[in-house]
């Protein structure tokens, strides 16, 4: 007997989306001089709003506003007072949490249960955590008198729009910097609602500026001579371009880039928990996660059985309306991203890997991709080497722990890794061997403002979160 779920949509009445949005500069909404663009709901392809594009003059205005705010107000405030503004912002984000969650799911396509239970609460927590640092920086291990850098240019991706904003803005403000932030062109709405939150919090004008636009706007922002710090989260390709752009300047740089994480399952792993961890690792947020466990490494003796269990579990995942509270897999964020996933999965088939997806009804409109598993994958396949950034899992096998280490580290990336085993000594041995910035043992995809996040190798440098994350925004005088 089959049980069907009744639809359980979250109401959109809580959020009031305007037909058009301006840039947020110097505490006010102001039209941009570029060519306006639209942001759509990726689950329906309906236009949500028209967005201003920031041109060079707007970038100049935004940076000048941030500089003025830094010189005249923000750098003169005590740490305690800076902290109070951050506490206010954290509280307003909590108060308007549901509104932010609905807006995030509409603009991004992610399931409401994820925006409601993960993105928005952790974003608020980031402000709360960093608020408390603002007047305690001399205890953070960066010397007795760490200083702000000045104006921070921050560019964030579309996969966790408000959460990535929080990861960037909260530490920058706590350490005394002012910011110009550019959200991704496909997901600007929660950043613009955040601008209203800054107004409600009476944050001094110019401390936070939000400019919208695509890559060209980002390039102009990074290149602006009055920027002291550049923080970027996004693809490794763009990250490298930005690193080249800031070469020879004194701009400080942190990069949080791509990943191709191994999720390693040993034969003694708690297999039911591991299955949940594998699903969470690659199908959470449609696989639009830089630290996604996109390469599953199974110990050979349990490979067949684990793949069977995994397939069974995938058949229970519900794909569809992001606003439905029972939805597990939402919409792919854009047609461009969908095409990239289609292209890479096609290469997987062409190169000889075996493709499987559960029977899964795909809505008529919008951008969707059924959860997919590839078996018979070799390390040379593109689907084992390149970041797909979609709900696609490549399965490889290993025999010994040494082989698992070898395969896990055989990548240009080094953002995260997963280890599943009941043996404590093996967890610590494996964790030590992983060339990756975050290691989840018997869990996956956990995030917390107190926990530093960031990569090794071509996954970038610098950390976000924790005491280590403060270093990205502090100037320490070194004698040599």
């Amino acid at each position: 007997m089959a049980f069907d779920y009744a639809p359980a949509p979250e109401s959109t009445a809580i959020v009031n989306i305007k037909s058009s949005y301006d840039l947020f500069i110097n505490g006010e909404f102001t039209p941009g001089g570029g060519t306006p663009f639209t942001t759509i709901n990726p689950a329906t392809e309906e236009v949500l709003a028209t967005i201003s594009e920031a041109n060079q003059a707007d970038v100049n205005r935004a940076v000048a506003s941030a500089r003025r705010a830094y010189d005249k107000t923000w750098s003169k405030l005590s740490g305690a007072d800076r902290g109070k503004y951050l506490f206010r912002i954290a509280r307003i984000m909590q108060e308007r949490g549901r509104e932010l969650a609905v807006l995030e799911s509409l603009d991004n396509g992610k399931p409401i249960k994820e925006s409601r239970d993960v993105d928005i609460p952790i974003a608020a927590a980031h402000f709360f955590y960093h608020a408390g640092w603002a007047d305690k920086l001399e205890f953070a291990g960066y010397g007795s008198n760490p200083q702000a850098l000045g104006v921070a240019a921050q560019i964030i991706p579309w996969n966790f729009p408000l959460l990535m904003l929080a990861w960037k803005v909260a530490p920058a403000l706590a350490t005394g910097n002012t910011v110009v932030l550019k959200p991704a062109e496909t997901t600007p709405l929660t950043a613009l609602l955040f601008a209203e939150i800054c107004q409600q919090a009476d944050l001094p004008p110019g401390v936070v500026n939000i400019i919208t636009g695509a890559g060209e706007t980002g390039r102009m922002l990074v290149e602006h001579p009055d920027v002291n710090k550049v923080a970027f989260t996004g693809s490794t390709e763009v990250g490298k371009a930005i690193q080249r752009q800031v070469a020879g300047t004194n701009k400080r740089l942190t990069l949080e880039l791509g990943g191709k994480a191994a999720n390693i399952i040993f034969d003694d792993a708690p297999i039911d928990q591991a299955i949940e961890g594998i699903v969470n690792g690659i199908y959470f947020n449609q696989g639009h996660v830089c630290c996604a466990g996109s390469r599953l490494l199974l110990q050979e003796s349990i490979a067949e059985q684990t793949i069977e269990s995994l397939k069974r579990r995938l058949q229970t995942l519900r794909l569809g309306d992001p606003l439905d509270k029972n939805t597990d897999i939402g919409a792919i964020n854009s047609r461009e991203q969908l095409n990239r996933i289609i292209d890479l999965t096609k290469s997987g088939e062409d190169e000889g890997a075996e493709r499987w997806s559960p029977a899964c009804a795909i809505p008529d409109k919008g951008f969707w991709f059924a959860p997919t598993i590839f078996t018979n994958v070799t390390q040379a396949h593109r689907i084992a080497r390149e970041e797909i950034f979609g709900p696609v899992l490549s399965v490889l096998t290993f025999r010994t722990p040494d082989e698992a280490v070898e395969k896990a580290n055989n990548t240009q990336y080094g953002l995260s890794a997963g280890i599943w085993t009941e043996k404590g000594s093996r967890i610590l041995w494996m964790a030590n061997k992983m060339r990756a910035g975050v290691v989840w043992a018997n869990t996956f995809n956990r995030f917390d403002p107190a926990s530093p996040f960031g990569g090794y190798k071509e996954s970038g440098f610098g950390r976000e979160g924790g005491v280590q994350g403060l270093g990205a925004y502090l100037n320490v005088e070194d004698p040599s």
Binding site: K240, A247, G437, V438, Y456
Partner: protein, 291 residues
Amino acid sequence: MMNNNDRVEIRKTHKLFIGGAFPRSESGRTFEATNSSGEFLANMAMASRKDARDAVIAARTAFASWSKATAYNRGQVLYRIAEVMQGRAEQFVQDIQNSEGVSIKKATKQVDTAIDRMVWYAGWADKYAQVLGNTNPVAGPFFNFSVPEPTGVVAAVAPDSPSLLGLVSVIAPIVMTGNSVIAIASYKNPVPAITLSECLATSDVIGGNINILTGDPADIMPWLATHADVNALDLTGITSAELITQLESDAAGTVKRVRTAPADPDFYATPTLSRVRAFTEIKTVWHPMGV
């Protein structure tokens, strides 16, 4: 040069230090090291692209074992370098006087500071992880901790002066944490670096962990900045803004970490942990807590 009993002195051949051995440059090229008045001191090996690449292979190989050595052991190996340096102190003073043309007092101060700098970093080996790492009180039933780990293979350029103290100040924080280094000695005052290489060869340093090249950094560094098996660059000794821009740009090819020194660096002041942070990575490990 004759010594005071008219014996014809045995001179030293000045070679590179790669993989624990002293090869000549593969290129067969040399350059003249001179004193501050421009008089000939020695023919130095002019390191080439091939020498740099050989050094990367040696450094990567040594990284596998050196990065796994215990912190206590790393501290002792660095301390051992200081012991051997102390035994060579007079030679270092002579080298520095010859190369830099400074007084015996200044040269002695430089040597003493360099040896003490090595000891300072030796003592950090089993402490820096306690200072740069910590547990994290996350909001959930997890044990979560962050530890610093070595970045990998670092290519570093020592400043022209102070030639010995600058080289030691660059090398020590890199290798203390478990990294391997390819260090390019002062192009202007390269002679003390050779004596340091001899100290390294006769201490307990794993062959290939510390490699010292002599030659023109402007020739060698572009090959290292674009080398995919180099993880990070220390541009302390590069003063040309143009070359810094080029190397920082080249580093982007594989997202290398890059550190440049502040303008007018003071190597005599007690360092901060900045150099240690620059060439380590923070790893954060999560595990659930439960019964």
